[in-house]
């Protein structure tokens, strides 16, 4: 017979759920507002979203406090897992979202921001990502992933022009395939361990001493393929440039940060024990994919004629670079991942925002894409400040000291060095050199060529966009001051989470 299920509220550990709940409530309240009164201005939704995100961030930071005291928290029948990784990644996710959402306040009107559904879906998506990072159950990860992804596809399509539909369809279709891979991978893990929780899987595999190596490997293969898509590792990356080009620059920038950090967290949870299991295969395959992703993406970025596509490839390359952290698998490298991603987030968001402010409704005359290099020709003469800021972001992305990404880069390469991955460290360094070329290319256009079409560059700018750029600039330049506190916090969180 059925016995009554007694569950005490404390054991649920509600605090673990609070941040996501806030985001969901926020989304719902936006829908409710819209239900009562439609045709409200986007500024309202932006601010409401921002407020909920603020609360969300507060809740995350609150749970960070709990984490520092009590260590890793489990909640809701151990489905929720709040450890340092979850907290750090949620901070990045929510923080980046907060930087992103004001980008809706453009001076030109764009389709997506005119509708409250956009903001509701946006918050749902954030909740999805948060669930994804705050769990080690493959089921919840899957649902979180799909919640976020489905919302994201829609957000892309909402830009409402043919390129964005094309982008959304491509992303969606490949995402569906990746979901299939994910399901298959989970199934195999389940087959060999009888569990879909990563901790449990790890425990069983270790107890078995990886006797079912064949099963383990193909499970890993399917997972790698699935997350290879999410993190755009070569050859699963092909959607990235198209999707970035098709979406609005703001969203593209967002996509280069948030979905990927969520993906990294899952990959880290899943692969960390596998890397340390002594399965050489995984190391070799990860090594290869890291190197290929970094290098190939860089090489393709070299030949782009559109800045946004170039930045898309550059994001792929950066993701490959960061993927090395998973391969290296030390506390230092995992901390480096977070550090890198934080500094990268500011810079990359800044760079994409710079594209966003220059976005005209229609294609610039005589150009086939929104942000072709020609558009930036001679900007130093027409818009010196803008050119300087853009140049700054490019230099930072190139890893030029003392700008943001550099610190992430040296800490990452440093971790490779410390773990004995000498050749990898060299490859990482040399890839930065290749990358230098295409970042410099934009600088060359802006600073060294003569203007071709003197137009208002800041056509789409508004004060809030400028503020976001200002924040990104300040962080990028003065990141040197922030690195130490960041590093200390990150290392503490990562270390205490056992990674």
């Amino acid at each position: 017979m059925l016995s009554p299920v007694n569950v005490s509220l404390e054991s649920l550990n509600l605090v673990t759920l609070a941040p996501m709940l806030i985001a969901v409530v926020g989304a719902l309240s936006i829908l409710v507002i819209d239900f009562f009164k439609s045709n409200l201005d986007k500024t309202l939704y932006v601010m409401v979203s921002l407020l909920f995100l603020l609360l969300d961030l507060g809740a995350v930071i609150d749970s960070a406090g709990f984490f520092m005291e009590n260590g890793t928290m489990l909640g809701f029948f151990d489905v929720m897992l709040i450890d340092g990784l979850a907290i750090l990644s949620q901070i990045i996710i929510v923080g980046a979202s907060m930087l992103f959402i004001p980008l809706a306040l453009t001076s030109k009107r764009f389709h997506e921001f005119s509708y409250p559904e956009f903001f509701a879906l946006f918050l749902f998506m954030i909740a999805g990502f948060q669930f994804m990072v705050a769990s080690d159950s493959l089921i919840l990860i899957f649902i979180g992933l799909e919640t976020a992804s489905l919302a994201l596809y829609t957000l892309i399509a909402l830009h409402n022009r043919s390129k964005s539909f094309e982008a959304a369809v491509k992303y969606f279709t490949m995402g569906a395939l990746a979901a299939g891979f994910y399901a298959m991978g989970s199934m195999i893990f389940y087959a060999i361990t009888g569990s879909v929780e990563i901790n449990q899987i790890a425990a069983v595999l270790q107890a078995d001493n990886y006797s079912n190596i064949g099963y383990v490997l193909i499970a890993v293969v399917f997972m790698l393929a699935s997350f290879g898509f999410k993190l755009s590792l070569v050859p699963f990356h092909t959607w990235t440039p198209d999707v970035y080009e098709g979406s609005s620059a703001a969203l593209a920038g967002y996509m280069s940060i948030v979905p990927k950090i969520a993906g990294f967290i899952v990959v880290m949870r899943l692969f960390e024990f596998l890397i340390h299991s002594g399965v050489i295969w995984l190391e070799v395959v990860l090594y290869a994919s890291v190197v290929i992703t970094m290098t190939a993406a860089n090489i393709w970025a070299l030949v782009q004629s559109d800045v946004k596509r170039m930045l898309a490839y550059s994001s792929i390359s950066h993701a490959g670079f960061v993927m090395a952290a998973i391969l290296i698998g030390t506390t230092q490298s995992n901390s480096a991942l977070f550090l890198y991603w934080i500094v990268f987030a500011f810079t990359n968001l800044g760079a994409f925002t710079m594209l966003w402010v220059s976005r005209a409704k229609n294609l610039p005359a005589g150009q086939s894409s929104d942000h072709s290099f020609e558009k930036f020709s001679g900007m130093i003469h027409t818009a010196p400040m803008t050119a300087t800021v853009m140049g700054l972001f490019m230099l930072s992305l190139a890893g030029l000291p003392p700008f943001g990404v550099f610190w992430g880069k040296i800490y990452m390469i440093g971790s490779a060095v410390s773990a004995g991955y000498t050749v990898l460290a060299l490859i990482m360094a040399l890839n930065s050199a290749i990358a230098g070329y295409y970042y410099i290319k934009l600088i060359v256009y802006m600073f060294m060529k003569d203007p071709v079409n003197p137009g208002d560059y800041m056509i789409n700018a508004s004060n809030s966009l400028k503020t976001i750029i200002g924040v990104a600039v300040i962080f990028t330049i003065f990141s040197i001051v922030a690195i130490n506190p960041l590093l200390e916090v990150i290392t503490a969180f990562v270390y205490n989470s056992g990674y």
């Binding site: 369809v169 491509k170 279709t173 490949m174 395939l177 990746a178 891979f181 190596i213 064949g214 490997l217 193909i218 890993v220 293969v221 399917f222 790698l224 393929a225 290879g228 898509f229 070569v234 050859p235 699963f236 092909t238 959607w239 440039p241 198209d242 050489i280 295969w281 070799v284 395959v285 190939a296 860089n298 090489i299 393709w300 970025a301 070299l302 030949v303 290749i434 070329y437």
Partner: protein
């Protein structure tokens, strides 16, 4: 004393700087007069210093530190001793004369001021060279005179040949200077110092081979400056400079720096007699070699230049054989009469509008009496006729060779003495005697300014008396520092036979030259002969250098730049960059934009990973079996 030393040393510098102030402005007489006066001051100081030295007082001062690092310590140190004071006297006398002479000679030249700046700078460098008490200071002067020589040879920089000759002289000297530098390094690392006294004091304790190396390298340095074979070609080409320059630099002073160096380094060369023999042999060879080229040359200044070269060979024979004081003595005497000869040639050139071919002259004694007298005097002195200077200095070298039992050297030198007399008087005969051929060419010769002649007079006097009067006091003085060896042929019969024989031989040569060239008959047959052509073309050595060094260097440079640097080194750098770019261009099709392809790529990735996984799994699970299978296949 110190004051005198500094006066002697720095007044030419002051003069040079003074003239340099006007270097870009129009001719100002004062720019010539002041340096000349300052040089005279320098001469007076040197003379006073000479009196001190004659009394046995030498001066050594250290002005200031130049370089000091590690164990190296190089000061600006100057010494006035018996050797350097000799050189100082020679330099100051000749240069004073030349300066004054040049005021007249350069009268109409646009670069008058600049000329004096260079010329005084040269004197300063030369004085540094001779007065320095260490190798580094010597090197400063060494390079300084090279620089000034460059500036003065190329003085008429609008002339292509002049600038070419200047560069040639500079570069050739540089080649030798490298050896000199290496010699200096050797001295430093083996003795720990560059001061002459200390270094020489340490040398007897060194490994013999090291000393040999020092001697050789330093001598190669000397060879460059003194234009010894095979670095001799620049000297003849250097005649493109104004004649006072030739007189001062390329006859009296700079070219003798090599001899000075060997004399200065006598404690070292005494340790390595084998190098000395080499020096002497080379000297004898050059004496002969240069004299032969002088025989047929048709350029007045070049003839004198070859003569200089020949005489330098004499000096090296003496120095190489250890007769340092003899070498120095000949250096001094030679400076006087050779400078005189050049200045006379300058007068002739002036008169002939810079014509240099003596075959176009003739009979000039009518219009240029004084010049004729002085040039004849100088030629007689050069030929070594008693009682002029050459007799006492040059024939002494023959005696040295004889006494030291180097009979081959002796024979060569003796023959050369004959040749010397021949070509000297060939020149005199062609210029001053015979018909006035120059009239055919439309020249209207005139005698030089009076003051120029007046100032040449001291040289003439010195050319006459230097040997006879100075020899014994000089010997007494200089042998306080140099080995006091007297070279006497003790058998009086041999002595007289030799002395008289030599005189007769030389006079015969003079007579033959005079008779042959009085009328400037050109013997076509001889001229077309092989030997004549070889000599006339300077043994084809300049052509050889041009073909085998200059051209290949130029071409190789061009190849290195255009082929190696641009097409290999740079192209490979760009090539590496291009590999990446081309790869990008060729593979960007992977993102074809077609969703179907994208999906296929994902599956391809999956398949690759799966294949790797299966292979790995099979290997792990059937490790032993796989290995044995591979073993059977002979793969392992």
């Amino acid at each position: 004393m110190e004051m005198l030393l500094y006066t002697a040393l720095f007044s030419p510098l002051v003069g040079s700087l003074f003239a340099a102030l006007f270097s870009t402005s129009k001719k100002t007489l004062i720019a010539g007069v002041i340096p000349s006066a300052l040089l005279f001051l320098s001469f007076i100081s040197s003379a006073i210093l000479l009196t001190h030295v004659l009394n046995g007082e030498t001066v050594q001062v250290e002005m200031m530190t130049w370089m000091a690092t590690g164990n190296l310590y190089i000061p600006f140190g100057f010494a006035v001793d018996q050797v350097s004071v000799t050189m100082m006297m020679v330099v100051t006398i000749v240069s004073t004369v030349v300066h004054v002479y040049a005021i007249g000679y350069m009268d109409h030249d646009a670069g008058f001021n600049r000329f004096f700046a260079w010329l005084s700078a040269f004197v300063f460098s030369m004085l540094i060279l001779v007065m320095s008490d260490n190798f580094a200071g010597l090197f400063i002067g060494w390079e300084g005179v090279g620089l000034c020589s460059w500036g003065l040879i190329g003085f008429w920089f609008h002339k292509e040949v002049a600038t070419w000759a200047a560069n040639e002289a500079f570069i050739m000297n540089r080649i030798a200077d490298l050896a000199m530098l290496i010699g200096i390094f050797l001295v430093y690392w083996n003795t720990g110092t560059l001061q002459y006294t200390e270094a020489f004091a340490a040398m007897p304790y060194l490994d013999h081979s090291i000393v040999v190396m020092m001697g050789v390298f330093l001598f190669i340095g000397a060879m460059g400056k003194s234009a010894q074979f095979p670095l001799h070609t620049w000297l003849a080409d250097a005649m493109e400079g104004p004649t006072p320059v030739s007189a001062l630099i390329h006859a009296a002073t700079m070219v003798t720096a090599g001899v000075y160096l060997v004399v200065r380094a006598n404690p070292m060369y005494d340790l390595i007699p084998e190098v000395g023999i080499f020096i002497a042999s080379l000297g004898a060879f050059v004496a002969m070699f240069a004299a032969t080229m002088a025989l047929v040359n048709r350029d007045m200044k070049r003839i004198i230049a070859y003569s200089t070269l020949s005489q330098l060979g004499y000096m090296f024979v003496a120095a190489g054989l250890g007769a340092y004081w003899v070498a120095l003595f000949h250096l001094m005497a030679h400076a006087f009469f050779k400078a005189l000869l050049f200045l006379g040639a300058g007068n002739v050139m002036h008169a002939m509008d810079d014509e240099l071919d003596p075959f176009k002259m003739g009979g000039l004694k009518k219009s240029m009496k004084w010049t004729w007298i002085m040039m004849t005097l100088a030629s007689v002195a050069l030929a070594g006729i008693y009682p002029l200077a050459g007799f006492f200095s040059k024939d002494l070298i023959l005696e040295v060779a004889f006494v030291e039992h180097h009979y081959i050297l002796y024979t060569v030198l003796l023959l050369t003495a004959g040749l010397t007399a021949f070509y000297s008087f060939r020149l005199v005969a062609l210029i001053f005697h015979g018909e006035e051929r120059h009239l055919e060419h439309g020249f209207h010769p005139h005698e030089a300014y009076k003051f120029m002649l007046w100032f040449m007079a001291p040289l003439g006097v010195l050319a006459v008396i230097a040997g006879m009067v100075f020899k014994s006091p000089y010997f007494e003085m200089v042998t306080q520092l140099l080995p006091r060896t007297e070279y006497h042929i003790h058998n009086p019969v041999v002595f007289w036979i030799m002395t008289i024989g030599t005189q007769v031989f030389v006079i015969a040569a003079i007579a033959y030259a005079y008779s042959k060239y009085k009328n400037a008959k050109i013997d076509k047959k001889t001229e077309e002969g092989f030997f004549y052509q070889v000599l006339f073309n300077q043994y084809y050595i300049p052509q050889f250098y041009e073909e085998f060094f200059v051209k290949p260097y130029r071409e190789l440079s061009s190849i290195l730049w255009k082929q190696v640097d641009m097409k290999i080194v740079d192209a490979s750098v760009d090539g590496i960059a291009n590999i990446f770019y081309k790869t990008g261009v060729n593979t960007r099709g992977m993102s074809s934009g077609n969703l179907s392809t994208n999906l296929k790529w994902m599956v391809v990735g999956l398949v690759i990973l799966l294949a790797l996984a299966v292979v790995f799994a099979v290997i792990v699970q059937n490790g032993d079996a796989v290995i044995s299978v591979l073993h059977d296949l002979g793969a392992i």
